[in-house]
């Protein structure tokens, strides 16, 4: 499937642009990665005793895989609401620069802020990557509709994956249930590693994994925050040593 040329009459209606956005989810391997991740989140929600409705609401309203996993694992392991909220909000800070950098791609001089609300809500790493790939092929005045369609398609895929994962976890043998739960760490590890372009990103990822077991021994309830801030700051130090000081 190729998108129609920029001057095609296909782009004259917003609904057509929305439909092209929905169809574009078939054009990326990241859709499959998202499906696997959200299959895992559905299974994780089941095995940590959250309801299916809860899992679906988290996908619909949070729409950020890492935040959802942090929320499920921290609440599931007995953290307080405040502790979970802090871990979630720190993981979500990365959404701020993503939204800041992606919205100008679809803004026109007459765009009102509320027209960008759904695009901002749908922004997460997958949409962010795909916007940079697809939007140059979409006429500027139809980009918001296109992005809304793309996001709608991805959310639908993930809600479906949640339902399938939830029921599979309830009904599968132990080995296959374990395999579905393992999808989440594997897909996050490799998609983050793939997005790591700078040394600081690689150091943050590797140290973050290695320091967590140490932080967990302290049993503070904030293990993920402790190891994350420590590893992230060291990674920033490496970046500073190489780039800023030079």
């Amino acid at each position: 499937m190729a998108l129609p040329p920029l001057d095609s009459p296909q782009w004259q209606s917003s609904w057509r642009a929305f439909a092209w956005g929905v169809r574009s989810i078939t054009q990326t391997i990241l859709t499959l990665v998202l499906f696997a991740t959200y299959l895992g989140i559905g299974a994780l929600a089941h095995d940590t005793h959250f309801s299916l409705l809860w899992a679906l609401c988290s996908t619909l309203f949070v729409w950020a895989g890492p935040a959802q996993i942090i929320l499920i694992t921290t609440l599931g392991s007995g953290a307080t609401i405040i502790q979970s909220a802090i871990a979630v909000t720190v993981s979500a800070i990365r959404l701020f620069p993503m939204v800041v950098s992606v919205l100008p791609l679809m803004r026109t001089p007459t765009t009102k802020r509320r027209e960008l609300f759904f695009a901002a809500h749908l922004t997460a790493v997958t949409l962010w990557v795909e916007c940079h790939r697809f939007l140059p092929l979409v006429p500027r005045e139809r980009r918001i509709a296109f992005v809304n369609g793309l996001g709608f398609g991805l959310v639908s895929v993930c809600l479906t994956a949640n339902i399938v994962g939830y029921f599979l976890a309830a009904n599968l043998t132990q080995a296959l249930g374990a395999a579905i739960l393992l999808l989440t760490p594997l897909s996050f590890l490799f998609s983050t590693a793939r997005n790591s372009r700078e040394v600081a990103d690689v150091v943050a990822l590797a140290l973050g994994i290695l320091l967590y077991p140490l932080a967990a021994k302290m049993n503070s309830g904030l293990d993920i925050l402790v190891s994350g801030v420590a590893a992230g700051t060291i990674a920033y130090g490496v970046h500073w040593w190489r780039e800023v000081r030079a």
Partner: protein, 116 residues
């Protein structure tokens, strides 16, 4: 599967919004509101990105080190081995996410079958 599993109680949904939706969404809305004036390459954002990556790394480690549910039935060594095997294949295939995930899964399932 019963109503409690499908719908759950309203209290859990309130916790979802207070601990999950609001703390997450606030950053997107700040981006929508103050989008214009931030330098994407600023040093503060580099640090923020590094901490966010390391927190995600901690989550990955937590699931593997202190596994939930059915994953806890897989012996420690086999879980670590599966992640390591996936990582090796990921690097050998020039960073193919798909190949890495499949390799990790096959390693774990094969190991579980072999151990009985």
């Amino acid at each position: 599967m019963n109503a409690a599993q499908l719908i759950g109680d309203w209290h859990a949904l309130v916790v979802l919004f207070v601990a999950g939706v609001v703390p997450n969404q606030i950053w997107r809305m700040l981006g929508l509101w103050f989008g214009g004036g931030i330098d994407e390459g600023s040093e503060l954002l580099v640090w923020v990105r590094a901490v966010a990556t390391a927190i995600l790394a901690g989550v990955i480690a937590q699931i593997v080190v202190q596994p939930p549910g059915a994953l806890a039935s897989v012996p420690d060594g086999l879980r670590y081995g599966a992640v390591a095997a996936g990582l090796v294949v990921f690097l050998l295939t020039r960073r193919s996410i798909f190949a890495g995930v499949v390799a990790g899964e096959v390693f774990m399932l094969a190991g579980k079958w072999w151990l009985g």
